[in-house]
Subunit: 292 residues, 4 copies
């Protein structure tokens, strides 16, 4: 499969390092990259407290024949970071992440992701779209993407429905996007899934948590509406926020108009969150994200 776009970088790797801050981390990492014949093309770091804080680093480096030499490179990284209290992970920037999309009846976020992917603007593959409705089937398949229908069920059969999702997803995807999926996933499901899940909530969280945020926004008389993309955790609408944005509304905008205008913000916010996650720009830390 050919992946288009400027975002996949042959012979490039991304090293994420995080843990306790201490002098010498940049020197250790950069010396190691020089030693293995790499060249740093992007470097970001952040410390949440200069004294005893948590440290976060993202380094993208070019290294000819990275994929072939990866085992020895990983050994070099482990050696360089020996003695620091740091965790690290390494990703091959020439390999797209596999992204499943879960959708429902609202199609604006779904189509926007499919369209951006086709343009080459998202460094991912999309092995499947799963919906609890069938309305989007033809649209999705027009993009050459497999479509599966897994109906949502409430009550005792919910576990069965989630089991069907897991059967399709586990092992086949690197992360899951809820493109206005509108179903609450159980903590058990999230644990069995084992990969990050990104949601788009149609409000500026923490305002208007829960169902029908546009209706609540209309009732409160706010002058801006927003959207929030966050990682899904067991606590509804409480996961680490990746990206947010707002748009101006007035008293004259009906709840329907809020929904229409909000849809534009939702798809923008979700697409940025997905892009940054796919580029390994987002580091989770407790209930926060560091976005480089």
């Amino acid at each position: 499969m050919t992946i288009h776009g400027p975002n996949l970088l042959p012979d490039h790797a991304c090293l994420i390092v995080h843990g306790s801050d201490r002098p010498g981390i940049v020197a250790a990492v950069s010396a190691m990259i020089t030693r293995i014949g790499g060249n740093i093309v992007a470097f970001d770091q952040y410390t949440d407290d200069p004294v005893g804080g948590a440290y976060f680093q993202r380094v993208v480096f070019h290294r000819p024949q990275f994929a072939a030499d990866r085992p020895s490179i990983e050994a070099e990284i482990a050696a360089a970071l020996d003695g620091f209290e740091l965790e690290w992970s390494l990703t091959d920037q020439s390999v797209p992440k596999r992204m499943a999309i879960l959708a429902s009846q609202q199609d604006h976020c779904l189509l926007d992701l499919l369209w951006r992917h086709r343009r080459g603007d998202l460094p991912v593959t999309i092995p499947m779209v799963i919906s609890n409705h069938t309305t989007a089937a033809e649209d999705v398949r027009t993009f050459g993407v497999p479509f599966f229908h897994v109906p949502s069920v409430a009550g005792p059969d919910k576990a069965e429905s989630e089991a069907q999702l897991l059967e399709r997803l586990v092992g086949n995807v690197d992360f899951v996007v809820l493109a206005r999926y509108m179903q609450i996933l159980s903590a058990d499901f999230l644990e069995k899934l084992g990969v990050p899940v990104i949601n788009i909530h149609h409000s500026f969280l923490p305002a208007f948590i829960g169902a029908e945020p546009y209706k609540k926004a209309k009732q409160r008389g706010v002058k801006l509406i927003g959207a929030t993309s966050h990682y899904v955790t067991g606590d509804l609408d409480e996961g680490p926020i990746i990206e947010q944005d707002t748009v101006r509304v007035t008293h004259a905008d009906s709840a329907g108009e809020l929904t229409r205008r909000g849809a534009d913000v939702e798809r923008q916010v979700l697409s940025r969150a997905v892009l940054w996650h796919a580029q390994d720009r987002v580091i989770r830390h407790g209930n926060h994200t560091i976005v480089f």
Copy 2:
């Protein structure tokens, strides 16, 4: 006293009409204005439901010798609206509203209002600034504005403190602005004051209601912070919203940096709310505002 600025309009009046929608309101109002020799220079209307909804209208008209002929003009308005279920109010657009500012230690909103007033950008007079601290006294007096110090007290003496405020305010001002005043005013105070009170809250309400919103925003890890200007009611941070705005922040911004960036949004949002209120552009309706 000379009032500068383009916003005070000699021989102009603003008529606000609101009540039950019914065909013929515009015709009745505009025919009346023609009849009295006026010319409409601004016209806005809004109905929250075309069928049986509430109706809101703001008309600014030019009428030579408005002030002299006001009694007969008011009689014409009453006659024109007879038979409709409408309330109305009339203001002379050549007369600035009298605005008191209540402030505390933070001076950014206070100075911004004083500075805009001096430039002629706010169609108000400022008969007094009252603060529960003395730090701003010299700054305020440099602008030629009287400064009073009324210390805030908690507990049983709070009523005494509010009485001192009322003594200075009642009868002397048309509305009050809380420019980061940081004290909760009692329902009893608001009732005795009898004029609108505009507050600036340093968050995008209804997110982060109550104290220390920037700290809460940092804890939640939001990617935007905001400010909200609203009319004060007995319910803390729940009054009708006049204006809101947001600004982008990142994980790297400390709580102090949020405070610094938020200050810019606060003064912008408050100054817009004050301007619109001073221009009779804001109509309260339940817990909402219509802003024309």
Copy 3:
């Protein structure tokens, strides 16, 4: 054909009035609407100079059996405006405008308009898409919209190419949208076409007029890029601006990244301009627009 969406209003009409300002216009129009049994649901007016300026008015009114009684209603309007120096036009708000889209290889604006139309967010019909390339044919037809291929030719055969466009468009459409069409249309073409043409230019006009604005923006080192939707006139990129917006960029964004981010702004700006035009909210006046 059934048209979905809240924007088509049965038994509603929009009256646009513009010309020389004079007292009594609102009264004359509103009395007439009351006389014919109509109810005003939206009213906007603007005067560019209170003394001797140009006057613009947009009134939407509900009138049962508008379509059937239109001739007599038009006679009432003409009578009511007799004696004023005003032009007027009347549109039936239950009838969608017919919008043709001209496109080229870039598909983001094209697909966005087709998708918004399918959602019911644009009160138009789309009788055809014409492209000078064939790449979008299948996408367009998936939306149930006819697709025609008319190659662009430079030099002496350009007139022939434009003649093919005219043959398809004239009489069949109420306005034309250039969705990144990237071809300059001759003054002769515009005259023969005889309906408004809306373009999207990929810069914040008047900055970066002409070809390759993102490249020019990169060269100049701007910190924001933008998009501008305007009516097309014989002067390239000089027509009346309907809508504009900008988005923040940095030194680190390549020209390709500017193009990617700009695409989002372009489709947003164009969709707003198209919606407002379709709703008769935009009045042209010289090289300006009044947008109600």
Copy 4:
């Protein structure tokens, strides 16, 4: 003199490195910082082309007794960068830059800078304000800042006027801010001054270069107005852009209203540009800036 604010960092230094990109720069710099006992607290880099491009790096590091040991630290830096084609500069982050402000009759940018400085939000000292009018004298002195009046003269005596400016500025300031100074400075003046000059232009450059941009914006009918802060060069309004922003306007906004709304954007944009310059975040490269 006591300097308030979180932006002055005792025992912190900022190293700016730029030149030809080559593998090993990060390793060389970070190893050197470790060697001298420093700890990196902020690190940014950018390459405009991975192959043979220009390289830019900003490193802030903490080093006890930096000021005392500066000569030996500079020798270490020179040694570390030996063999690379790089220029570098080092600044002590505990020492505020000395900023002169040149102003004219419009006071909004001037007062905003003075007020931010008093709050401790700008890591600078302000040794003087020079104006070609006397109107701001008392305001400036209220902030405890010296005020000088140097009238502007056109024609043959312009050199004399500039000589008076130079006499006050040269040797006493590290950079100069034109806070709506509205006078064109000669190339000769800029050369003799020898320090960076930051201007605020009241348009979104390159739109509306030259005089009266709000009037031009009104004439063109734009839907956004903006402001641009840039380094001053011999070419009017063509210097490297540091920061820009825009704000929405409508057909109904008069040229006066554009001026009023623009003033808010101007002071915001200028204050950000000044802050970033004062923090050594801005690197000039040809006609561009890299802003870290």
